[in-house]
């Protein structure tokens, strides 16, 4: 059993070139995430949360620093290497669900399975996930016929179909009402507890963040260490935020 952190980040920097202007999005992030951990990342807009996600998810390369994800050094990976990593190592859940509109829910999942090279339709692990998500009866419908909560559950199923080491959820409840938000968060927590799925979740909502084992705050492209809290201290989170 590998006990090393599944994500190890040291002095991660990312600078975007907007026209001729260099815009720093990450200014030296240090972070370690253990296997099976459910980590919530909070912070204001522009704090670098999404950029951090995009780098961990292999959507964009880091400008400098060390990023190891599931024993792979992302700074050394080519574009094709990062593409392969997205196929099997990480799964994304987006705020806007991002399902392919012309395909049924089931086909959305199958596309991800196909891209990931998976061929395990009878996979008991995934069957358990589908049962947990409670969407087995909605797989024949197109996204337009599904509620927001159902779409997000399909998106979660799609993200998990290839059994990724890490699930990256970017504001997964941002487009949902309170009831559906709670249902999705319960599902994420349940997935984490029952299957040991490592989850990183970006959120603006302190109540949603409290579902994680740990909450880290980001500001101005850095993790703010003094604001990191563990589950059980969630009530302190709001207090701490109010102090800042």
């Amino acid at each position: 059993m590998n006990s090393a952190p599944i994500i190890e980040i040291r002095d991660l920097r990312k600078t975007y070139l907007v026209g001729k202007v260099q815009v720093p999005a990450l200014r030296g992030v240090d972070l370690a995430v253990e296997r099976g951990e459910f980590l919530s990342i909070v912070g204001p807009s522009g704090s670098g949360k999404s950029t951090l996600f995009h780098i961990i998810g292999g959507l964009t390369p880091p400008t400098s620093g060390q990023v190891r994800v599931a024993d792979q050094d992302l700074s050394a990976l080519s574009d094709a290497g990062r593409t392969r990593m997205r196929q099997r190592t990480v799964g994304f859940v987006f705020q806007k669900f991002n399902l392919l509109p012309n395909l049924t829910a089931g086909d959305n999942i199958e596309v991800a399975r196909y891209i990931g090279g998976g061929n395990h339709k009878g996979d008991p692990h995934f069957a358990e996930i589908l049962r947990l998500l409670g969407i087995a009866h909605r797989l024949g419908h197109k996204p337009s016929a599904l509620s927001g909560g159902e779409q997000q559950r399909i998106a979660i199923a799609r993200a998990l179909v290839n059994q990724p080491a890490i699930l990256l959820a970017d504001e997964p409840t941002g487009n949902l009402d309170t009831e559906n938000s709670k249902a999705v968060l319960e599902i994420l927590r349940s997935l984490n507890e029952r299957t040991g799925q490592t989850i990183l979740m970006i959120t603006h909502n302190p109540e949603a963040a409290a579902y994680g084992h740990r909450i880290i705050h980001m500001r101005d492209g850095r993790v703010v260490p003094e604001l990191a809290v563990r589950r059980g201290d969630a009530e302190n989170t709001e207090t701490t935020e109010r102090k800042t």
Binding site: G57, M85, R86, Q87, F94, L99, P101, I115, R158
Partner: protein, 352 residues
């Protein structure tokens, strides 16, 4: 809607190509059939005669008819003079009594044979196309012709007039365009034709088989060959442009979807493959639509110009048109496909 329009636009050049091929081959088959049906075994023309009958001058002295008839194994020789009228149609001057001996005569659907100098016989499709009936006056070559009879199609001429009249109008008195020869032993036609060629080295002597297969083969007519290539070229350009535009629009419309596929681990190759597959499907559907439309074109041509352009459907060309359309479609999809494949996934996901 975009897809349907693309299929339509790809189908049009496919129809153009198929119609052009269908018309040229239809005309060829029609001409071959009309010449074969007259019952001659050998065809004699002036030594400088061109492959296209309509372009050949009336430069064959009539005296050759008698000279040919005096040759061994020649049973009968009949000369005709041909004059271009409405391209691709010709008017044929015949001596009806000789012509009847050779062919057994025309089948009259209306009226009867040529009697007056300016009588004319029209075949049924031509009469239908020009709405002419027996007794009508028909203006041609600055003359008023009297429609004496409507004949069944398929025997030598669509428009037949007295030979002497056409020779006079053509300022080609005692001159002919072609002499048809019937031999006594059709099994030895080739040897007889070779012997005639030796005897008359200044003439062009061909068996009927050679004559129709060489003279009426559209591939042997340079202008038809060039025209076909030009139309194919235009078809390729249209299919290329349509697919290129369509796929470029598709890439713009589906930027977010491309981002989704990339976030799932879709490689550049996969995205390009999807785009090329869609282009191939468009090419395939466009070709199928074009083939269907060519049947419509045949109906329209046979309804409105049955005599001028006897178009046929040429299934042999379907795979060729498919190959042309597919090639143009795939090349057309290449640039949009590469653009899609190189999309930045983050920008694509943020696209609204």
């Amino acid at each position: 809607m975009r897809t349907l329009l693309s299929v339509l636009l790809i189908g049009v050049p496919a129809t153009l190509i198929l119609s052009l091929v269908g018309v040229s081959q239809g005309m060829s088959e029609d001409a071959q059939q009309r010449n074969r049906s007259i019952g001659a075994d050998i065809v004699v023309r002036a030594g400088n005669a061109q492959n296209v009958v309509g372009f050949s001058a009336s430069s064959l002295p009539e005296g050759y008819v008698k000279a040919l008839e005096q040759q061994p194994h020649v049973k009968l020789a009949v000369g005709v003079i041909v004059h271009n009228i409405d391209f691709p149609l010709t008017m044929t001057g015949v001596d009806l009594s000789q012509f009847n001996r050779l062919t057994g005569g025309f089948t009259y659907l209306e009226g009867g044979p040529l009697r007056g100098a300016y009588d004319v016989l029209l075949d049924q499709p031509y009469a239908q196309q020009h709405k002419l009936h027996v007794g009508d006056t028909w203006l041609q070559l600055n003359q008023k012709w009297h429609v004496a009879g409507i004949i069944a199609p398929g025997k030598l001429a669509k428009v037949a007039v007295p030979k002497a009249t056409l020779q006079e109008l053509d300022a080609a008195t005692k001159m002919l365009t072609t002499i048809f020869v019937k031999v006594d032993d059709p099994a030895h036609t080739t040897q007889i034709a070779e012997q005639l060629q030796k005897t008359f080295p200044n003439l062009k002597v061909q068996t009927m088989d050679d004559y129709v297969s060489i003279t009426f083969n559209p591939n042997n007519i340079e202008s038809v060959r060039v025209f076909t290539r030009v139309v194919i070229g235009i078809g390729v350009v249209i299919a290329f442009a349509v697919v290129c535009l369509t796929m470029y629009m598709a890439v713009l419309q589906r930027t977010r979807e491309i981002g989704i596929l990339k976030s799932l681990g879709g490689s550049k190759t996969l995205i390009l493959r999807i785009m090329l597959t869609e282009a191939a499907a468009l090419g395939l559907a466009g070709t199928a639509f074009g083939i269907g439309l060519s049947f419509g074109a045949r109906w329209a041509i046979s309804t409105f110009a049955p005599a001028s352009f006897p178009m046929i459907i040429v299934p042999l060309w379907w795979p060729r048109v498919l190959a042309i359309t597919l090639a143009a479609s795939l090349v057309g999809a290449l640039y949009p496909g590469l653009t899609a494949a190189s999309h930045d996934p983050i920008e694509a996901l943020a696209y609204e």
